[in-house]
């Protein structure tokens, strides 16, 4: 994955002002951005996904320009072909596990049918051991099962990159290790490039091929050997 980000964004909240100024360039398949909460990690991830419009700068993924303020380019989230796993997974509460996973495969204005599956969905249900839960609703699932559903929903459309927002924060510590190993194996198997943001140094240790530290809206100097931060 070739990720090239250079964005600036100023956020106002009452009298408080927050400045996000992130420049990073990486060709790693596993980019981890670590930082305390409020450092701007989620904002950065949202900018890549197209959910947040930076004031200036550019975002390039695999040579595709997703955002460029000088060229007036701002691809909508629908056209970015990235997958976003939200911190609390954002599963659709009105749809079953199967429908959640099939969500992006169904075009048109109607949700996927409740009981009819398709091969891709069955494949992911099976590979995440969700077969027996296919007709359950998200409210009936455990934390780990929710995360698997969210991952399956994200991966089913073969995204160019997988964006993970604190993927283990909502899990209890006992489960966290197991899910880390699962995601690790999955990433190795699929070779899907991922950008993971976390406040937990253990996540960085487990996944960090290229670890970046974000503090108060700015990336700090690289500390990982593979790191190649281009500071403009």
């Amino acid at each position: 994955m070739q990720l090239d980000i250079d964005i600036r964004k100023t956020m106002h909240s009452g009298s408080r002002k927050f400045r996000l100024d992130v420049r990073l360039r990486s060709s790693s398949r596993r980019v981890v951005i670590v930082g305390p909460s409020g450092a701007g990690k989620t904002l950065t991830l949202q900018a890549i996904a197209g959910l947040l419009r930076p004031d200036a700068g550019h975002i390039r993924l695999d040579g595709r320009l997703l955002f460029d303020s000088t060229g007036g380019i701002d691809r909508p989230p629908q056209a970015r072909e990235v997958a976003y796993v939200f911190q609390d997974y954002a599963l659709f509460p009105h749809l079953t596990v199967r429908q959640n996973i099939a969500f992006s495969l169904t075009r048109g204005w109607a949700n996927p049918p409740r009981h009819r599956g398709c091969d891709a969905v069955d494949y992911w249900l099976h590979s995440f051991e969700l077969d027996r839960l296919a007709d359950q609703f998200p409210s009936e699932l455990s934390g780990g099962q929710r995360q698997r559903t969210a991952l399956a929903r994200a991966l089913v459309r073969r995204p160019r990159a997988l964006l993970l927002d604190e993927p283990f924060a909502a899990l209890d510590p006992a489960l966290r290790g197991a899910m880390r190993r699962e995601l690790d194996g999955l990433q190795h198997r699929l070779q899907v490039p991922m950008v993971l943001i976390t406040h937990d140094p253990e996540d960085a240790a487990a996944f960090g091929e290229h670890v970046l530290r974000l503090h108060d809206g700015r990336l700090l100097a690289p500390e990982s050997a593979v790191a190649a931060v281009a500071s403009g």
Partner: protein, 172 residues
């Protein structure tokens, strides 16, 4: 919502009456006359009951978790589809609760309906107005039947709204 129904009815008369701006135009263009028809009763009931569906519907839409809509967008779903596949089904219960309350209010509509539709037996007489006229005419038996029907429908509506209102759908 704060306006008395008779006042609303008067405004409607001014608007859709033969000499009203909309009524005059309808009459000239299509030969439609609304006042003292059942259609006028429908319009009156709809106008009076509208706030009861508008407010809960708006609250229901606002209560939808924006992150779910964002998730749908990132999954490649177009804006209209996001509305029909995520927003609307998530807000549906709140909207239906409002619709039921509005229905009950429309059932009891009296003032505005009487102003624009009159009370022609068999043509524009509504249930609520029929109760009033039956009592006025001393037809107690008719009044009893009408009141029983209305009460039953209202209780059913209330039960239905109660089942819908406390939004079972929560994210988590």
């Amino acid at each position: 919502m704060v306006m008395p129904p008779t006042v609303l009815g008067y405004y409607l008369l001014v608007l859709v009456g033969r000499r009203g701006s909309l009524g005059g135009w309808l009459h000239e263009q299509f030969g439609i006359e609304l006042v003292f028809t059942w259609q006028a009763a429908v319009i009156a009931a709809a106008v009076v009951a509208f706030p009861l569906v508008f407010k809960p519907a708006r609250a229901a839409f606002e209560a939808v978790d924006g992150q779910l809509e964002q998730a749908a967008r990132v999954l490649g779903i177009s804006e209209p589809a996001v509305f029909f596949r995520a927003t609307l089904p998530l807000a549906w219960r709140g909207i239906m609760a409002g619709v039921l309350l509005a229905f009950a209010r429309a059932l009891g509509e009296f003032g505005a309906t009487l102003m624009v539709a009159g009370s022609m037996p068999g043509r524009t007489q509504t249930l609520s107005i029929a109760v009033y006229e039956a009592v006025q005419a001393g037809q107690d038996e008719t009044a009893n039947v009408l009141v029983a029907i209305t009460s039953l429908v209202c209780v059913l509506v209330l039960l239905g709204a109660g089942r819908l209102a406390p939004g079972r759908i929560v994210n988590r």
